[in-house]
Each structure stands twice: as structure tokens, then as C-alpha cells.
């Protein structure tokens, strides 16, 4: 096990115990307040969606198209970020409410929830920022880590980053399958499990497309084009926003990556430490936190993924105090500084690293 911050083993264990104590207190505090919060968000989201779609249908009224598109964008952002992502983490499952069950929640994107729970909840949250295991390190498209080998096709990767952001839900949809490998493998040789997953993705994507780009425009009759365009812009806005939030979570310059050997015999202390060092926060007003699904507190989210996310701002005070005590970095900044930092890193890594590791694991 590699200790990334020169904590001695006793300090590392004590650090782990302190984080675990915060975690246990936060788990024990879950209750009626959390339900009231998430149900309030769900009600707001639902009203935004119904209101947004209604306004788009009435888009012959001046201003209605802009308002409708804005409300529908807001609805999709709330549903994906604050509701879907967090409910699928099981943050509200303590309640036993079937509407908040992580197993059965299906979110409003082209990504099948089942696959998301595997690639995100399991692979990403367990093996956070471990090269070759956590595919969130560049989504198999970007080079965000010196340990990834450089190739010529990395050069325009800032353009890929922008393209991925615009099509983010489609990137997420294919995330649980190694798409670059899948499309270059002859169909007879493909892994049957991957084939099943791709079929599932196609089925869900069709339902999403049918709703946003076929049925609602058709129902709108003469307003079909306006409804189609409104839905397209709402999906695009959600894509750009969620991509920006996600890029800020693990790609800023100071967010560390780890070699697979890190995982060998990793104890509780180092697990929490890896989550801390691999994640980055951004600051802002409360509405910004809500729209980000509280992933503005990516550090707290990675330390306590099963704790209702709206509690992260309060927990961050305790986490920061522990970090200061052990002399550990706590990576935070404004949204724009973190985003700029992430883009700078992606830009830097589009060129070969100065000290390319000689034996980079094949990715």
C-alpha cells in the first residue's frame, strides 16, 4: 500500500477512524428531514417538467418558448443530479419508501440505471481514481492521467472534451461498455454481456428519443418544431451542466490518481484518504449546490456516498477540520477556477508527459 501523504500508519488509522466516526454519525442522523427535503425537490422537479412542457406547447405566446425550455432544462438537471444520482446511491433507502429505492429508480437519461449503478456506484466509487479500474478517469476517451499512455490521437482532446460535454448523456449511456473496443470488435467476437448491455442501452435510448423528439412534438401539432427544439436545448443544457460538474469533481490539477497496486491490502484509513485526495469541490450559493446534486461537495460525496447529499455542506466543516488536523489538502475553489483547472490538465495531457512512466499499464 502506498501512502500518498506521508501519514505514518498510526496517523492513517486515526484519520480513518475519525472519518468513519463522521460517517456513522451522518448515517445515524438520517430521518424525516431527509425525506421532506428530497420529496420537496421531487415536487419542484415535477412541476418544472409539467410547466415547462406546457409552456413549450404554448410557445406561440411571446417568451413562452424561452421560459418553457428553461423550466424543462431545470427539471432535467434536478432529476438527473439531485434526485436520480442521489437516489440511485441509496441515500434515501433508509426510509423503505419504494419510490426512493436505489434498485428500482430509473432516471431521465439515455443511460440504463442498472448499468449506471455498476459503472458508477461500484467501479467508480470503490476504485476511485485508480488507473485502469475507474473508467471515470477520462471515460476511455480522454487522457487525464500521466499513467495513461500518450498517443497521437490525444492531441485534439480538448475538442473531444467539448464534444463529450455536448453529448454527455450519450457518453454516460455507453459508459459501462468499453465502447471503443466494442465498435472495433467484429460482432461475432463480442462479449455476450456487452451485447446484452448495448441492447439495453438502445432500448432505453429509443424510449427517451421517442418521448422528447417524436411524441411531444407530434402532440404539439403546428408547434412541433418549437417543442422539438425546446426539448433538444433542454437536453443539451443538462448535458453541458452535468459534464461541467463532473469534470470539476476529479479532473482539476490537484486531484490525484492512483496505481492499481494502491488497492492491495488497502485499509479503511487509506480508502477514505484516496477518496479525499482524488476528489475536488467547488464553492457557490446554495442553488448552485442543489443544481449540481451537491456534487459541488464531491469530496464529501466520495467519503459518504450513502448519506443524503444535501447534508454535505454541513459535513464539509467536520471533514475540513480533520484534514487540517492531519495536514491533508482539501481541494476546493470556485466553479470557474476548478473547471479551468480541469481543462488545463486535459490540455496539458493532450501532449506527451514530461516524465512518461516507462511501464504504464495498458489501458
Amino acid at each position: 500500500m502506498k501512502n500518498d501523504c506521508q501519514l505514518n500508519p498510526a496517523q492513517l488509522e486515526a484519520f480513518g477512524d475519525e472519518m468513519y466516526a463522521i460517517h456513522q454519525r451522518a448515517r445515524a442522523a438520517r430521518g424525516a428531514e431527509d425525506l421532506a427535503y428530497i420529496r420537496g425537490v421531487m415536487r419542484t422537479q415535477l412541476r418544472c417538467e409539467v410547466g415547462g412542457r406546457a409552456l413549450l406547447f404554448a410557445s406561440f405566446i411571446p417568451g413562452a418558448w424561452v421560459a418553457g425550455t428553461a423550466l424543462l432544462s431545470l427539471s432535467k438537471i434536478l432529476e438527473n443530479m439531485e434526485i436520480g444520482h442521489n437516489v440511485m446511491h441509496g441515500q434515501y433507502e433508509f426510509s423503505g419508501d419504494p419510490a426512493l429505492s436505489s434498485r428500482s429508480y430509473e432516471w431521465d437519461t439515455t443511460c440504463p440505471s442498472e448499468q449506471w449503478r455498476h459503472s458508477h456506484n461500484y467501479l467508480h466509487h470503490t476504485f476511485t481514481n485508480v488507473s485502469g479500474v475507474d473508467h471515470d478517469l477520462g471515460y476511455r476517451v480522454l487522457r487525464v492521467d500521466d499513467k495513461q499512455p500518450w498517443r497521437w490521437h490525444r492531441v485534439p482532446q480538448l475538442a473531444y472534451t467539448a464534444g463529450l460535454a455536448a453529448l454527455f448523456q450519450w457518453g454516460i449511456a455507453g459508459h459501462d461498455v468499453d465502447m471503443p473496443k466494442y465498435v472495433t470488435t467484429p460482432s461475432a467476437e463480442r462479449d455476450p454481456e456487452d451485447v446484452r448491455r448495448v441492447r439495453e442501452i438502445k432500448s432505453k435510448a429509443w424510449r427517451q428519443v421517442r418521448k422528447d423528439y417524436l411524441l411531444f412534438p407530434l402532440l404539439a401539432g403546428p408547434n412541433a418544431v418549437a417543442v422539438f427544439a425546446g426539448n433538444l436545448v433542454a437536453n443539451l443544457a443538462r448535458n453541458l451542466w452535468s459534464a461541467a460538474v463532473i469534470y470539476c469533481g476529479h479532473f482539476p490539477e490537484q486531484a490525484q490518481t492512483f496505481a492499481p497496486e494502491t488497492l492491495e491490502g488497502e485499509g479503511r484509513g487509506h480508502f477514505y484518504l484516496r477518496q479525499l485526495l482524488g476528489s475536488a469541490n467547488f464553492e457557490g450559493p446554495r442553488w448552485l449546490h442543489v443544481l449540481s446534486g451537491h456534487l459541488s461537495h464531491q469530496i464529501e460525496h466520495h467519503l459518504f456516498p450513502d448519506v443524503p447529499a444535501w447534508r454535505y455542506p454541513a459535513l464539509s466543516k467536520e471533514v475540513r477540520a480533520v484534514c487540517e488536523k492531519y495536514g491533508l489538502p482539501y481541494n476546493t475553489g470556485t466553479l470557474s477556477s476548478q473547471l479551468f483547472s480541469a481543462l488545463r490538465r486535459i490540455g496539458r495531457l493532450s501532449l506527451p508527459s514530461v516524465s512518461e512512466p516507462a511501464l504504464a499499464p495498458a489501458l
Partner: protein, 369 residues
């Protein structure tokens, strides 16, 4: 069994509604249309709701709750029960209770009564019988159960009840009392044999004594000086030819077993209908029980995490981090008591999701695997 009248619908209307529902579902995907309807018009869609409008205490830890149901609840039949869901500290809890009011109740047309005796260490009943419950909204199932009077009233009825087992029977007796007031007689010769700890704890005693047509026999532990017992002879002492009556029984398990034996010994088991209350885990015995994996029909006695137990049984449940973080191994618990090792919390709820990797059985448990 559901007692609601079967609704015979026009097949054309049914297929039209199905088609409409499916088309609506395409628009609301990935949600169901009902979710939108329930959020926009909760009085008409979603679960049946009821408000606790009054609480009338009987004795310590026992009270009658008056619930004002919404329009969708419908009419119950005397003797039926409901499953009631309440959120306590943000956790949904579901329990079944007999309806103690008669369908032709004296209160508001949409009011029902539940008479509840709390279990000392229960998670739900102590909260339900607390006066602060008034004003709370709960969810209800439609009325359920086949512990009801036959459509045609038999000439002789025998009710045998113990403790709070009188709650479904009092509904029937009240119903018969209404009939007696209307028609001068209940239409049957009715005997009630009721077992209680003391006269004070004998529920509805004053009311029962006001029913002139009722042949009432009360047996209390207090008067007897020992725990009462029942066998064929002691039952015959109350009703000599009890095998020729139509009998209903509800109460603690040992009493029900004794009644069953008495009726079986006179080859009259068919005359007897029994209502059983399933007791939840009482939190006292922490020994492991039998873990049953319902779908694969495998059982084991093992105190390790349910994930390990399942894998030892040759099952292959999905699993991920194995430390209670990722949720991959979440699975439905059908029934039984479990402890979550992350929080130490005990769960006795049926049909809830649990994390196999961080949950152990602390009683007989059935898992949907």
C-alpha cells in the same frame, strides 16, 4: 382474500384504458403516469390515505384510533383488517390491524376505528397509541381478509377471543347489535367467550354488557389466579354442543392451538374460522434463525452476512464493494428480522431492500433470491 365486489368491465373499455395508459406511459417515461397523477392530485391517485382524527385510550398502552379515510377506501366487511403504513422518524413502517368499528358505524361515513394494544418494545404500536398521533396522515390498504360473517347468518354463532383478538370480533358484534336494534333481534344465537388478563384490560366490556342478546363469558387471569387454559371439556362447559355452532376465533397462538384441538376432537374443524396476528420480531431473542432464499428454495442457519450465506448456498447474488458502499448487492427482504451492521439498526419490516453484504439475520428471514 379481497372482499371487494368483482367489477365486471366491458372488454372494450378495458382495452381502451390499457392502450391509453400505455400511450401515457410513453410520454411520462421513465416514470409511470400514476406518479404524476399522485403528485398533482393526491386525493384521487396514489396510496389510500387516512388522517387520525381522534384517539380514545382504554388502559395503559391500549387505545382506539379513529381514522378518516379518503374516498377510495370503500366499505369494509365486519371482521376485516387493513395494513397501515406510517413514517416514523423518516422510516416507513407497515403493520396490520383489525377494524374494530362496524361497517354501519356511528361516526362519520368515512371513519373507521382501529383498536391497538402496543407491544412494549415495538417500533410502531407505542407511537400509534400516543396522543400525539392525532393529526397524522397514514397510508392504508383496502380492507382485506376473509375473517367475516357468512352471507347467510347461521342459527348459532360462537366467538372465542383472547386479549386484543377481540378487535375483529367486536366489529361483527357491533354489526349484529345494529341489526338487533333495527329488527329486534340479531338473527342468531350468539355466544362470546373472551379471555383477558383482568376486567380492566377486557376491551369493550361495558359495551358488550349493553348487548342484551349476547351470551357473554369473560375469563380473566386475575379472577382465576392463574393463566386460563382451554380444552374440549372447558369449551363444552360454555357451549355443550359447540361443534354445531359456526365459530370464529382470534387471539394469542397458544389459545388458537387449543381451540383447534378442541374442534378437531369433535371432527368439527370446518365449523371454525381463525384469524391469526403475525407477531413481528420482539427484539428480545437475538439468536440467528433460518435464512430462506425464497426463489431458489434454499435454507441455511448461519450468522454471517447474508451475502456470504447466499454464496455458501451456491447462489450468485450480484455484489460489488462488499463493504456497504456501492449498493450492488441490494436485494428485497420478504420477511423477518435483520440487523444492518453499518448502523446496528434492526429491521422487521416486510418487503424492504437490504444490503446483503452488511446485513445479518437475527431471526427467521426470507430473502427474494
Amino acid at each position: 382474500m379481497d372482499s371487494l365486489e368483482p367489477v365486471i368491465a366491458d372488454p372494450f373499455v378495458v382495452s381502451l384504458r390499457t392502450a391509453l395508459g400505455r400511450a401515457l406511459g410513453w410520454l411520462t417515461y421513465p416514470r409511470k403516469p400514476e406518479e404524476y397523477l399522485a403528485a398533482l392530485a393526491p386525493r384521487h391517485f396514489g396510496p389510500i390515505r387516512a388522517e387520525v382524527v381522534a384517539l380514545e385510550p382504554h388502559f395503559d398502552g391500549c387505545a382506539t384510533l379513529v381514522l378518516r379515510t379518503d374516498r377510495r377506501f370503500g366499505k369494509h366487511r365486519a371482521g376485516q383488517f387493513v395494513s397501515l403504513t406510517i413514517e416514523i422518524d423518516g422510516v416507513r413502517r407497515t403493520r396490520c390491524f383489525s377494524i374494530s368499528s362496524a361497517p354501519e358505524g356511528t361516526r362519520g361515513p368515512r371513519d373507521i376505528e382501529l383498536t391497538i394494544k402496543s407491544t412494549a418494545r415495538g417500533a410502531v404500536t407505542p407511537r400509534l397509541v400516543d396522543p400525539s398521533i392525532v393529526g397524522t396522515t397514514v397510508e392504508l390498504s383496502p380492507p382485506m381478509g376473509s375473517f367475516v360473517l357468512d352471507a347467510e347468518l347461521p342459527p348459532r354463532l360462537l366467538f372465542i377471543t383472547g386479549g386484543s383478538g377481540i378487535t375483529p370480533v367486536i366489529s361483527m358484534l357491533r354489526s349484529l347489535d345494529r341489526k338487533a336494534i333495527r329488527e329486534g333481534a340479531p338473527g342468531a344465537k350468539v355466544t362470546l367467550l373472551h379471555f383477558a388478563r383482568s376486567e380492566r384490560e377486557a376491551l369493550f366490556l361495558e359495551e358488550l354488557r349493553q348487548m342484551p342478546w349476547l351470551d357473554l363469558h369473560l375469563v380473566t387471569e386475575e379472577a382465576l389466579g392463574r393463566a386460563p387454559s382451554l380444552d374440549e371439556a372447558s369449551l363444552a362447559a360454555v357451549v355443550a354442543d359447540f361443534e354445531d355452532t359456526r365459530a370464529y376465533a382470534c387471539g394469542p397462538a397458544p389459545l388458537l392451538r387449543a381451540i383447534e384441538r378442541a374442534f378437531a376432537s369433535r371432527r368439527a374443524s370446518d365449523a371454525l374460522t381463525i384469524e391469526r396476528f403475525q407477531s413481528a420480531f420482539d427484539g428480545r431473542s437475538e439468536g440467528t434463525g433460518t435464512v430462506r432464499f425464497a426463489r431458489s428454495n434454499k435454507t441455511a442457519n448461519d450468522s454471517r452476512t447474508l451475502l456470504v450465506v447466499a454464496e455458501e448456498q451456491g447462489l450468485e447474488p450480484k455484489s460489488g464493494c462488499r463493504m456497504g458502499i456501492c449498493g450492488t448487492c441490494h436485494c428485497k427482504k420478504l420477511s423477518g428480522a435483520t440487523r444492518d451492521l453499518r448502523t446496528g439498526e434492526v429491521s422487521t419490516e416486510a418487503n424492504v431492500d437490504i444490503a446483503l453484504c452488511s446485513t445479518v439475520a437475527i431471526g427467521d428471514v426470507s430473502i427474494d433470491l
